[in-house]
Symmetry: C2
Subunit: 615 residues, 2 copies
């Protein structure tokens, strides 16, 4: 085996109660790297389209990336992959912190979970042995409590990944929360619901093995200077994390406001942004970080006074600030922090949850949902009670929350009338909080992103605002906003580039620090001993993207599904920088398919698959 | 009662076997004119959204227009209105010939049919009495045969409207054929299936009453000069009817080719166009016309030699030439004529039928439909056997024809896979054969047309190619093709203007002869004695359009439904004049809603309804 990986996956059959090792060929590593790339390879081959995502036969793969837990900068991440209960298509959901690095030290590159246990269990993995243990006493407990009990029962330094009550109740966007109150979440697409459907409460890892590095000396020397650049270009991220972006994003017309209806939230943005809230005088408790990260964007927060006094939690990220803030017409940061904390405890995705809350508020305004449905909660725009209370209802599947727990698209179909007009999603996944009317390349991305309404598959709104490394400029010309020319190309390049992070286990915040594919291919070569250049890396990225598209194609996805909600396509913002814009999606899409080497129906051609070695 | 109308509607209860007269107030006539306007008023009030279109409780209204059967030019038409079995929303389907004028002479302005007869019946209406008669001996007979039997049983000069086997079998786009072999069809939306569901085979009319005209002298004098203009500007239409348009339409990139995939059909267009085929040396048998028409576009055709020798039929119209011709890659006019004749005999809409055949051909090419499904018919592009044979299968609901008889949208959903990519429709109605990628105003129209994929609600592709009357220029600036600026306005103006023809019973081919709302309002005033000016007429048009939108809104229609197929939105033509164009629909739609005074969700505001007297 080349350096950098172990070459084995732990396969767990929850029904039989058996654990065994699967060996991965080194060819597969080079072709798919690891993480979601390798998972796509494994899951594509065995995909049974007749198996419902919440059927026990739907496998879930929990994968370290190729570089996870190494000395590569920001190499903290692992990823969970399965057919999503929310969208019915490919899902991958990554998390940072220390769980991935610790898991790597057990000697595995991944886990594949099959079938359903009769009783609640957790999986305990060390570098010496792995076993399933009873988790009946944890069922019903939230993720913070579970983390404490699990570490008490195993090893205090162990790292936990566990579901909360929302996963147990199979909320379709239930997440997996890592390390308790530190709350690194594998958030999107409902992997937590799959765990729940399998009676899997937690995976706890503890290991001491060391990952071999091919050329440690060169790698150490390289990252010394690389980390300098990263630190230098991450000053804002280091100070406030993603929370520092609210004001800028608002000024570009990129921030969703009132369920994506309005164009400006200026004062409100000031009130909730990190610059205002994340200081020691306000709510900042302490900084924290993930494995091997020079950026250090993590912040713990505390509320000492007022109705929410006593809260100790991880900070709400940008998406959460926008989702429970502006998109619900709420400018009270404390309310967002409480909703965020609840989501982490229950184990539900803050983006989909806040999207469902904003959706419910608009339904309520139009009389589609009434006080009877909300069990008395007044779902008025900006209401603290509504926001916090609806998180409870969804996670506990009470009242209308039981329907919203199916996702806003399913809920709207059930509610009928005008309700479908208020859904802002792609392929059933609520859009992340970056507006494709502000950055039209994001329209192409949301329409074609492999897991649905996912911003992380492109992140093009980050692009073009600073000096850039040569290899990033190679990817494309500087960013495009409201026009459509060049947007398809920008999206194509960035989906490919962003597609290498989850296979490698790297954090995508390296990109705003101007880390490009050239630097990353150098890290890979240093660690594995491969001679992987930027071109091979980008071809690999394209291979993985196309494989996941084929996975979705098997599930019926084609051009007809590559679209966006009517609110985005036909309702321009009334004011602000993006005023009057709607994306010219069809035009960009037809260009995009050509760039991808797909048919005009959005299906990879045989030639394209051949070229990528996927035939 | 003012002149020009009788003020009563015949209400027929097929279950009870009773007939009675309903009196219409003169205020309603002024507010809704007649025809589909008055029908919308009646049917909106009693719409029960829980009643399926093929449930016996779905009423159908068969209405003369306000001017039908008068001396007004081209005042031949009547219209049938109901909730459509094809789309589930508002349907109105008009026909010319002499049926409407003859019906008017019985002393009625319309018929409303309710419930279902136990046995097949036909309705016999004269100016002296009306009755239901047994039609068991006609069930299974085609429309030509039925016409002959019915006239023998009643009165040779009576005019018949009847369904064929397709209506009896409730093909969802079954039509009502008038006057046998003359084949004036109320084609779109499946009114024939509703007749079938009610066991109503035919309505036969014969009357001698004369419609009173307020100022016959002025009307006679006016139309003398008006008819001159109409004749002068209709030379092409008089010579070849709509069949003369194929070559021009092809040159603009407006002709659908190979299920809307290609951009050019030049040689083929020459072969099937009227100029080539409708001469005495070729297939022209004789000219014919409708009531009071100076245009005289009707042609009978005959085939004397070859495999189809013996055919005597009405000519295929433009839509049929395009549908069974270029859109199926067929340039053999005789094949189109045979398919057309079959559609008229079976009683099925040629636009939806040919759309289903092209759809089936593309499914066959992709292996989604096989020879087992087609009972051995090779559904290859351009195949004569395929085209003619599939008309039989659909009308008789045999093999895959049974599924296609549900419409291409429903069929695609059932077939799954890529099939939905091959549907080209709006709201479940197959698009008429004018391409919204060539005339982008037609994109807004198809997306918002009240009955779905209907070209007749806008006809904007006719606009701006000749000198125009002042009042037509008042409507809008000259036409827009591939851009989007001005397209929403053009569509809005023309939907309003085109919306007065079915309420009045006038033929829309008056419009290419540059008859505008000013001239028409003069005719109305001459005939009724009202002082109706152009502005009142256009406000009335807008009132009727909004009432029908509200009918659809009750049925769940809003912005989310105002869209087009992915082939139209994201697949540009590869060559020809419209090469590279896809409509910027969302942009145009948001402008259109503003012009309409609708919310951004596509719903008329209370202010708009107030303004139009519809509160």
């Amino acid at each position: 085996m080349p350096c950098g990986f172990w070459g084995k996956i732990l396969e767990v059959d929850l029904k039989a109660g058996t654990l065994k090792d699967i060996v991965i060929s080194k060819d597969d590593y080079r072709k798919y790297l690891g993480g979601s790339g390798l998972a796509a390879k494994m899951l594509y081959g065995e995909l049974d389209t007749d198996v419902d995502p919440l059927d026990e036969r739907n496998p879930v793969a929990i994968m370290a990336g190729l570089l996870t837990g190494t000395i590569a900068p920001a190499s903290s991440r692992h990823v969970m992959c399965a057919r999503s209960p929310l969208t019915g298509i490919w899902d991958e959901s990554a998390a940072g912190g220390y769980w991935g690095a610790m898991f790597r030290r057990t000697g595995y590159d991944g886990i594949i979970i099959r079938n359903k246990s009769e009783k609640p269990v957790y999986l305990w993995i060390t570098d010496e042995k792995s076993e399933l243990r009873d988790a009946s006493h944890l069922w019903g407990k939230d993720t913070y409590e579970s983390d404490e009990v699990l570490r008490t029962e195993t090893e205090n330094k162990a790292k936990t990944a566990c579901i909360g009550p929302a996963g147990e109740k199979m909320v379709r966007f239930a997440s997996v929360t890592h390390e308790g109150n530190e709350s690194h979440s594998a958030g999107r697409g409902g992997i937590g619901a799959i765990w729940g459907s399998k009676n899997l409460k937690a995976i706890v890892v503890f290991g001491k093995k060391k990952i071999e590095i091919y050329n440690r000396e060169k790698m150490t020397s390289d990252i010394k200077s690389d980390a300098e650049q990263i630190k230098e270009l991450s000053v804002g991220m280091t100070a406030f994390g993603t929370a520092g972006g609210v004001v800028g994003v608002e000024s570009w017309g990129d921030l969703p406001i009132k369920n994506w209806q309005l164009g400006s939230f200026a004062e409100g943005a000031q009130k909730i942004t990190g610059q205002t809230t994340l200081t020691p005088e306000m709510y900042l408790d302490k900084h924290h970080t993930c494995h091997a990260c020079p950026i250090r964007c993590g912040k713990s927060v505390k509320i000492d006074e007022g109705p929410y006094a006593g809260l100790r939690s991880n900070k709400p990220e940008y998406e959460t600030l926008a989702g429970f803030g502006s998109n619900c017409m709420n400018d009270n940061w404390e309310v967002i922090a409480v909703a965020n904390d609840k989501c982490n405890r229950y184990g539900i995705d803050t983006i989909s949850t806040s999207g469902c809350v904003a959706f419910a508020m608009e339904c309520y305004e139009h009389g589609i949902i009434t006080d009877d449905d909300t069990l008395g909660l007044p779902m008025e725009w900006g209401s603290a009670d509504a926001i916090i209370g609806m998180v409870d209802l969804i996670a506990e599947r009470k009242g209308i929350g039981d329907l919203l727990a199916e996702g806003s698209a399913r809920a709207a179909e059930e509610l009928g009338g005008l309700a479908p007009e208020f859904v802002v999603d792609s392929k059933g996944m609520e859009l992340a909080c970056h507006d494709p009317r502000a950055f039209t390349s994001m329209a192409v991305n949301y329409a074609t992103a492999v897991r649905g309404g996912c911003h992380l598959e492109a992140l093009t709104y980050f692009y073009g605002r600073g000096k850039h490394l040569d290899d990033l400029r190679y990817l494309n010309e500087p960013r495009y906003n409201h026009g459509y020319e060049g947007s398809a190309r920008l999206c194509y390049d960035f989906q490919n580039y962003m597609g290498i992070f989850n296979p490698l286990g790297l954090c995508k915040f390296l990109f705003p620090a101007e880390v490009g594919p050239k630097m990353i291919s150098r890290w890979i070569s240093n660690i594995t001993g491969w001679d992987m250049d930027m071109d091979e890396l980008m071809t690999t990225a394209e291979r993985i993207f196309n494989l996941k598209r084929m996975y979705n194609f098997k599930l019926g996805i084609s051009r007809k599904d590559d679209t966006l909600s009517p609110r985005i396509l036909a309702e321009p913002r009334p004011d602000g920088w993006a005023r009057g814009v709607v994306p010219y999606l069809g035009k960009m899409l037809s260009e995009y398919y050509q760039l991808r080497g797909w048919t005009k129906l959005g299906v990879p051609t045989v030639e394209t698959l051949d070229k990528l070695g996927l035939s």
